[in-house]
C-alpha cells in the first residue's frame, strides 16, 4: 500500500517534469494558431481565438517545394543507405569477413569526423561538376552521413537471429537466398524499419550541408526557416507555424519508433 502511494507520487512528479520539459513545443504549436499581434504580447496570451492564418501564409510563401525536396532527399538517401548497409551488416555479423571488427570501426570513425573537416573538397568538387543546388547531391551526401549508423544498427539487429535456426535451415538444404528470405528478413524487418526511420530523421533535420549546398531549386525544409533568422521575431506566429510543419514528419516518425530509437542513437551499442 505504501509502495503504491510512493509510486503514484513519483508518477505525478514525472508528469509535471514531462509537461514542463515539453512546454516549449506546446507553446510553439499554440503560437502557430495565433495572429501576429496576439503572439507578440507581454504578458503572453493564454486564451485566444485560434486561426489558421499563419499556416495559410506559410503555404502561400511556397513552403511546399522545400518540403518536397526534403522528402526526396530523405527518402532516396534512406533507400540507398538501407541497400548498402544491410549486406554490409550481414558481412559483419552472420557470415563475418576476416577483419570484421576493423571494418566496423572504420565505419564508425567516419561518423566521428567533423563535417567541416572534409567539406571544402566536397564543396569544390560539387561546384566543379555543376551539381550545386541539386537534390541528388544531397541524396549522396546524406547517404554517406547515415551509412555508418545504419551498418552498426543493422548489425546489432542481425546478431539477434538465432544461429541454431540458421544452421538448422542449412542442414535442411535451404540455400543462402532462401534462408535470408525465410529466416533472416522476418526477424530483422522491425529493426530494418527502425534503422530506416532514424536515417530519415537525421536526413530530414540536416542543416549544415543543406545551407551550404542548396539554394532555390533544391532547398530543404531547414532552408525555409533560414529566412526567419534575422527577422527579430517580427513574424513569431508564422515562424511557429513553419517550425511546426517542418518538424511534424520527424515527430510522428520518432514517436512511432521510440522503442527502437535508443538502439539507433547509440549505434546498436545499447539495447
Amino acid at each position: 500500500m505504501r509502495a503504491r502511494l510512493h509510486d503514484s507520487i513519483w508518477g505525478v512528479v514525472a508528469w509535471i517534469a514531462g509537461i514542463i520539459f515539453v512546454f516549449p513545443v506546446i507553446w510553439m504549436v499554440l503560437t502557430s494558431f495565433k495572429q501576429e499581434n496576439v503572439a507578440a504580447t507581454n504578458p503572453p496570451s493564454w486564451f485566444f481565438a485560434p486561426t489558421l492564418a499563419q499556416y495559410t501564409q506559410v503555404f502561400d510563401r511556397n513552403i511546399t517545394p522545400f518540403l518536397l525536396n526534403s522528402l526526396m532527399a530523405s527518402i532516396f538517401s534512406t533507400i540507398l543507405v538501407v541497400l548498402l548497409a544491410t549486406p554490409a551488416a550481414y558481412a559483419l555479423s552472420l557470415r563475418p569477413v576476416a577483419k570484421w571488427s576493423d571494418a566496423l570501426f572504420f565505419f564508425i570513425s567516419t561518423k566521428m569526423m567533423p563535417v567541416v573537416a572534409a567539406f571544402l573538397p566536397v564543396y569544390l568538387l560539387v561546384k566543379h561538376l555543376g551539381m550545386l543546388d541539386n537534390i541528388w547531391t544531397m541524396v549522396i551526401l546524406y547517404t554517406s552521413m547515415n551509412l555508418p549508423l545504419a551498418v552498426w544498427m543493422m548489425r546489432s539487429f542481425l546478431l539477434e537471429v538465432p544461429r541454431e535456426v540458421l544452421e538448422a535451415g542449412e542442414v535442411d538444404g535451404a540455400g543462402l537466398l532462401t534462408s535470408i528470405r525465410k529466416i533472416v528478413l522476418p526477424i530483422v524487418s522491425p529493426g530494418l524499419a527502425a534503422t530506416a526511420l532514424i536515417c530519415f530523421i537525421f536526413a530530414w533535420n540536416e542543416f549544415f550541408l543543406a545551407v551550404n549546398l542548396t539554394a532555390t531549386n533544391s532547398g530543404t525544409s531547414p532552408i525555409f526557416l533560414v529566412g526567419f533568422i534575422s527577422s527579430e521575431g517580427a513574424f513569431l506566429a508564422r515562424l511557429c507555424a513553419a517550425a511546426t510543419i517542418v518538424s511534424l514528419p520527424v515527430l510522428i516518425a520518432g514517436w512511432v519508433a521510440q522503442n527502437k530509437l535508443v538502439r539507433g542513437l547509440s549505434m546498436g551499442a545499447v539495447k
Binding site: 503514484s8 508518477g11 517534469a17 503572453p44 551499442a269
Partner: protein, 309 residues
C-alpha cells in the same frame, strides 16, 4: 578520424568465428561488404586527404589561380590566431556544458521513468519530443519565442525584461542544446536502468539496504558505462554544433559563442581563406581522434559486457 582506425578491444570476440575457407569463399563473404565500404571511402576519406593537401596551400578564393605551396604556414597562422583559440575554448565550454547538464537532467528523467506509474508511456513520449523537433526550428523557437526580451515566454512568466541572448549568450546556447539533447541521454540511461537485474536489487532490499544505498552502491556503478557512452556520443554530436550557433547568436556577441565549426565556416565562406580553413579542419580532426579513441574503448567494453551477460 579517417587516417587511423582505432584498434578494437582485443577481447571483443567475433560473433561467429570466420572459418578458414578458400579464396572463393572469402570473396563470397566480402562481396556484400564492398559496396558500402567503397562508398564510405570515396565520399569521406578522399575528400579528407584533399583537405590535408589544401591545408598546405595558400589559397584565397578571391585571388583565383594563385595557390602557392606554403607547408605548415597555415597551421602556424591558425594556431597563433586568437580567434581560433577562443573558438577552441568556446567549443569546449559549449560542448562540455551541454553534455554535463543534459546528462544530469537525463539521469533524473530516466530515474523517474524507471518507475511504474499511470501514463508512463505518454510521459516518455513527451520527454523525447524535444529531440525530434528540427534543430534549427528548436533554435529559432528558443531565440524568438522564449528568450525574446519583450514578449518571450521566460520574461512573460518570471517578469523582467532581460535580453537573454545578448546578456548570457553561452548560457542561452547551452540551454537550447541541453533541452534538445537531454532526451538522448535519458534514452540511453533508461536502457541502462532497465538492464539492471531485478533479483539482485531485490536481494539487496531484503538484506536491508535503503533506496539511497542501492542507488549509490549498485545503480551508479551499473550505469557508469552508460553514462560514459552517453557523454562520449553526445560530445561527438555536440562538437559539431552549427545550427544553434548559426541561428541564435551568429557566433556573437563578438566571438562569445563562435565555436570551431562556425569559425571554420566563416573562414571558408566569409573570408574565403580555403587554406586556413582546411588547416583548422585538420586540427579539429586530430582533436576528435583523441576524444574518439576513448569513445571506441567505451563502446568496445559495452560489447564485452553484452557478451558476458
Amino acid at each position: 578520424m579517417t587516417v587511423t582506425v582505432a584498434r578494437p578491444d582485443r577481447r571483443t570476440q567475433p560473433p561467429v568465428r570466420p572459418t578458414k575457407g578458400g579464396a572463393k569463399d572469402r570473396w563470397v563473404r566480402r562481396a556484400p561488404l564492398l559496396p558500402a565500404l567503397i562508398f564510405a571511402i570515396v565520399i569521406t576519406q578522399i575528400p579528407f586527404l584533399y583537405t590535408i593537401y589544401l591545408s598546405t596551400t595558400s589559397w584565397n578564393a578571391l585571388r583565383p589561380g594563385d595557390r602557392p605551396f606554403v607547408g605548415f604556414d597555415n597551421y602556424v597562422t591558425v594556431l597563433s590566431d586568437s580567434r581560433l583559440r577562443s573558438a577552441l575554448v568556446n567549443t569546449v565550454v559549449l560542448t562540455a556544458g551541454a553534455v554535463i547538464f543534459s546528462l544530469i537532467l537525463g539521469l533524473v528523467f530516466a530515474l523517474l521513468l524507471d518507475r511504474k506509474f499511470l501514463g508512463r508511456g505518454i510521459v516518455r513520449t513527451l520527454l523525447i519530443t524535444p529531440f525530434l523537433v528540427m534543430p534549427i526550428a528548436a533554435a529559432l523557437l528558443w531565440k524568438h519565442a522564449l528568450f525574446n526580451p519583450t514578449y518571450g515566454l521566460i520574461n512573460g512568466i518570471f517578469g523582467g525584461s532581460t535580453d537573454w541572448v545578448s546578456s548570457y549568450p553561452k548560457a542561452a546556447v547551452i540551454t537550447t542544446l541541453v533541452w534538445q539533447w537531454t532526451p538522448f541521454m535519458m534514452l540511453i540511461l533508461l536502457a541502462g536502468l532497465q538492464s539492471q537485474s531485478h533479483e539482485v536489487l531485490e536481494a539487496a532490499r531484503v538484506d536491508g539496504a535503503n533506496a539511497w544505498q542501492i542507488f549509490r552502491r549498485m545503480t551508479i556503478p551499473h550505469l557508469r558505462q552508460y553514462l560514459e557512452l552517453g557523454a562520449l556520443l553526445g560530445s561527438i554530436y555536440l562538437v559539431n554544433t552549427f545550427d544553434a550557433i548559426f541561428s541564435i547568436t551568429q557566433g556573437g556577441p563578438g566571438t562569445a559563442t563562435t565555436n570551431l565549426p562556425y569559425e571554420i565556416y566563416l573562414t571558408m565562406f566569409r573570408k574565403f581563406e580555403y587554406g586556413e580553413a582546411s588547416a583548422a579542419g585538420v586540427i579539429v580532426v586530430i582533436l576528435t581522434i583523441i576524444v574518439a579513441t576513448f569513445a571506441l574503448r567505451v563502446i568496445s567494453s559495452l560489447f564485452k559486457m553484452e557478451e558476458n551477460r
